[in-house]
Each structure stands twice: as structure tokens, then as C-alpha cells.
Amino acid sequence: MPLTIVACVKQVPDSWAEKRLLDIDSTLDRESADPVLNELDEYAIEEALRIREAQGEDGSEVVVLCMGPERATDTIRKALSMGADRAIHVVDDQLHGSDAVATSAALTRALGTTQWDLAVFGSESTDARMSVVPAMVAERLALPQLTFAQKVEVDTAGRSATVHRQTDDGYDIVSAALPVVISVVEKINEPRYPSFKNIMAAKKKPLETLDVAALGLDPAEVGLAGAWSAVEAFEQRPPRQGGVKITDEGDGATKIADYLVGQKML
């Protein structure tokens, strides 16, 4: 039985850049940093590709699903150049400022436009860092969530998946029948680099776009106006300042201990 694996990806500002909010609507300033594929989503794409590859040449496919502005096509092409087969781009200006709840609604509708077995997410986006969208999508679809996976095993014949869910003191082995919503942590694999051949091929792969109307969403449910929480105010903090810096001359440890005593930490 061929599988369809959807890799859900987001475009985010490069995590190497300092981030800030815009005064006008308190949303993230996305112009001030280079937009990149959310790094944790690379692990999701890689895992989706590995699941497909483990199936052999049975017609299984990896579909990239991305909600984001026009320029997120770069991110989608990157995902395709890693080896995904086709893509769905949810794009509409009305989506700007959507919160996690609205994002999960749009992704859920988009997932409804295609038949699939596993939807794989990165465990968080490096900009919003909420880690809630996969759980919200699972809730909306009334499907099991196998999230924070550091290992994924798919039993195609038994139509089930089992993951090692990372916990504070180890991991839980969690199992569910397909279809499932998965999120992966960065420990899971080593994402591949796109090959030249795949970069060229990615330009020709099918890319479908869906707007709010096509998703059948009420525009009032999405975007800033549809958000269920609102920023009241924000302020920039002065950057943290360094304090004392000494060079160890055999007494470095003593000096740290003295400092800790001075701070009443020892």
C-alpha cells in the first residue's frame, strides 16, 4: 500500500539574526532577516523522505504543505529540492498575523484537500516557538498525535506508527493507527543536502496554491483580526551587559567561588 506523507513546513526569519516586533501591528518583523526554511522542518522533510524510501518504489509520495506569504515559494522549492514530490502552498494576504489557532485551522483545511497517511511537522518553529500547531491540527482532525518524536517507525501492513516521544527523563514509546500527526525533534536524523539534480528537478515539480476562499475558511477566522489573543504592548529590553572578566592564573576557580559567595550563592 503506497503511503502519502505530508511534510508541513514554515518559512521563518534566519535564527542567526536578532528578531524584533513591528510597531505597527506587533507582528514579527520578517523583512529584517533572511527568510529561511524553519530548521526543525528540515528534520520533518528528511523523516518523510525516509519513510517514503523505506516503502520502495511503490508510488508513495511526500507532499510539502506550507502556509506563508508569496515569497515562501523559496522555502517550498528548498523542500522539493530535498526530494519531496509535490507541494501545496496556502497563500493569502488575509492570513497575515494568524495566530496558532487560525494557522491550525488553515492547515487542517489544506490537509483535507488531499488523501494522506502521515502528516509530519517540526517540533517547533524557531520564530514563534509555541510547539502547539501539530497538537491543534490533531485535535481538529480527531486524530492521534505522535509528537516530539526522536524515532518513527511505520508498520505499513498493520497501518500503524510508533514513535519514541522525547521526555524529560528519557522517552515514551507511543503507538497509534494511521492516519497520524507526527512532530519530530532534531535528534531524529541528519537532513540531507539537496543534490544539484534535485534542485533542477524541483523547479518542475507540481505546486498547487490555495487561498482562504479555496480552503472554505471564513476570512474573519484568520489573520490578525481573527486571532484569539492580542498583543497589548511590547517593549525592547536593553541588552544584557557583561560583568567581570578575568584570566585564569591558577586561581580562576577560587575567584569564581569567591564571586559566588559574594552573590550568596554558596
Binding site: L40, A135, S229, L266
Partner: protein, 319 residues
């Protein structure tokens, strides 16, 4: 006064520190109702402990089925209590599972959700510290019942006696609530250390530690100080230390009283997870390492010399 529900994190009968912190916050803005799920929930000692931190009511759901699957059963318990009690807000610890519970609960109950709050102000405004502490944001839930996850270690726990009336809760689970079944819990951690996100002291090692064996030095210093062990991504990627101990952008956010960075350069993504620590001490052999820009006390030197000496100093000064 209106009720504020707090989902208690416990370990078969003992509440985690973060739950005391959430009750402290809830007491400030309403009447705390502690919600305890899973075996041990009906432990009398636990109830007394929660009452000591202000719980007016303690909703206990000890049924083992409620922890036989991840996330969704706890959502079912909270959703039922929200329907019955109409609380003013729901507070959940900002842990990986806590945030997922909050997310699903928000969708299920038609409520807005705010994660990673470091404080709650009047009018249930959530205060968040984002972008590694460089920006403070105040937001409010505008639809439904505010569901807010609060970071461990962000609030000073404070005792204030609550009535502690125990209310047994039973919940009918839908099949979908138990669909993601836990087959086994695998425990890998060496016991005895405080949890990373809750610890008052964190000692972290980076690539400079050089190997898994090298982390013995980090662990020994952490143990002398009674702290937790953390690691940079370079260290977890290299397999020196398990991934769940990673501090930073894609790891844990910690905010201890004292953070000691050994052989960590201080990349922006690492800073994102530790910059709000009260005091930062760094040991790095490169005087130009960016970690020194935020360290309150920095020592340019070799961690292999300094860490063992510091461990000795700490042990001898503790007496």
C-alpha cells in the same frame, strides 16, 4: 472571586515545583482550583501540599486510563471542568506536554492560548519574554477562556493556605482521546538531579567539553552545587550528552539563579535559552567568545583545569 484552574504536574503524588508556582500566580488573581490527573492524584499528602500553596479546591482524577495516552486525556479532564466550572483562566506549566495540552484545549473549547508566560498581570494579561529576553510582550486572550502556559522558575513560589476541598472527578474519554497510546515509559536519566527547567542552578557544557566522558566534570560540578546539567547543541549533536538536556532556541529555556557555561561559545541560539538567568558565569579559553558579553563573571581559561578545582572549592566551602 473567580476560579482559576491549575493543571498540576506531579510524579505519582508529589507536586513539581512549577505547580506551586502556578498556584501562587493563581492565588494572586483568583481562587485556585488544582487539577490532578493520573495515579497518585488522590494522595492525601499531595492534597495537603496543594492546599498549602493556596488550592481552594482540588479536582482529582486518579484513573490510570487518563495517563495511558499522551496529551488528549488531560485535555478531556480540563475541558470537562471548564464546562462545569466556567473558570476565569486555566494555567498550565510551559513544558513540552503542557504546551500541547494547552493547544488542544484551546481548540476544543474555542479559547485563545498564550504560551511561555513569565508572569500574569492584572486583568489576566500574560507577560512573555521573547527573542532571548530582548523583548517583553504583554498579551491577552480575547476569545473564550484564557489558557496560559507559564514557564517554570519564573515565579517565586509562596505559601498561602487554601481550603483544599477535594472533589473527585470522573471523565468519559472518547476513543480519539486514547488513540495515541503509551506502550512503555523508558527512563534514561540518572536520578538525583533537579529537573533542568526547574533547577535553581544549571551547569552546562559545550563542544569545549570534548567528549561524553568530559561531561563527568560538568556533572560533578552540578552535583556539588545541587544543580542540573545542561548542554549546548554542539554537545548534544556530537553525542556528548542526551538531547533532552539541550539549552537554547531548539532546546529548553532555562532561567535559573545561576547558570555556569563551560566551553560554550554563546551563539545567539544558545543565548535564546539561557539569557534570562539571574547570574551567568562562563569559563572559556577564548577571550573573544561572545558568551563573555553576557556573563556576570567570566574566566578565560581551560575548563579541564578550572571545573574540577571549582568542584573542590564548592565542596570545601559548603563545609
Amino acid at each position: 472571586m473567580s476560579e482559576i484552574l491549575v493543571l498540576v504536574e506531579h510524579d505519582g503524588g508529589a507536586a513539581k515545583k512549577v505547580s506551586h508556582e502556578l498556584l501562587t500566580l493563581a492565588s494572586r488573581h483568583g481562587e485556585p482550583g488544582a487539577v490532578v490527573v493520573g495515579p497518585g492524584a488522590d494522595d492525601a499528602g499531595l492534597a495537603a501540599d496543594l492546599a498549602r500553596f493556596g488550592a481552594a479546591r482540588i479536582y482529582t482524577a486518579p484513573d490510570a486510563a487518563l495517563v495511558s495516552a499522551i496529551v488528549a486525556p488531560k485535555v478531556a479532564v480540563l475541558a470537562q471542568l471548564m464546562a462545569e466550572r466556567s473558570p476565569a483562566a486555566v494555567l498550565i506549566a510551559s513544558t513540552a506536554e503542557g504546551k500541547e495540552i494547552a493547544g488542544r484545549l484551546a481548540v476544543r473549547t474555542g479559547s485563545g492560548v498564550i504560551t511561555d508566560a513569565v508572569d500574569i498581570d492584572a486583568g489576566l494579561t500574560a507577560v512573555q519574554s521573547v527573542f532571548g529576553g530582548s523583548t517583553v510582550v504583554r498579551s491577552r486572550v480575547t476569545t473564550g477562556t484564557p489558557i496560559v502556559t507559564v514557564r517554570p522558575n519564573a515565579t517565586a513560589q509562596q505559601e498561602s493556605a487554601g481550603a483544599g476541598e477535594v472533589v473527585a472527578v470522573s471523565v468519559e474519554l472518547a476513543a480519539t482521546d486514547t488513540a495515541a497510546a503509551v506502550v512503555e515509559h523508558v527512563v534514561q536519566a540518572k536520578g538525583g538531579r533537579p529537573e533542568l527547567a526547574e533547577a535553581a542552578i544549571v551547569v552546562s557544557g559545550g563542544r569545549g567539553v570534548g567528549s561524553a566522558e568530559g561531561f563527568d566534570l560538568v556533572e560533578r560540578l552540578a552535583d556539588a552545587l545541587g544543580g542540573a546539567v545542561g548542554a549546548s547543541r554542539a554537545a548534544t549533536d556530537a553525542g556528548f550528552y542526551p538531547h533532552q538536556y539541550q539549552v537554547g532556541q531548539t532546546g529548553k529555556t532555562v532561567s535559573p539563579q545561576l547558570y555556569i557555561a563551560l566551553g560554550i561559545s554563546g551563539a545567539i541560539q544558545h543565548r535564546a535559552g539561557m539569557q534570562t538567568s539571574k547570574t551567568i558565569v562562563a569559563v572559556n579559553k577564548d577571550a573573544e567568545a561572545p558568551i563573555f558579553d553576557l556573563a556576570d563573571f567570566g574566566v578565560v581559561g581551560d575548563l579541564f583545569a578550572i571545573a574540577p578545582q571549582l568542584t573542590e572549592q564548592v565542596e570545601s566551602r559548603k563545609g
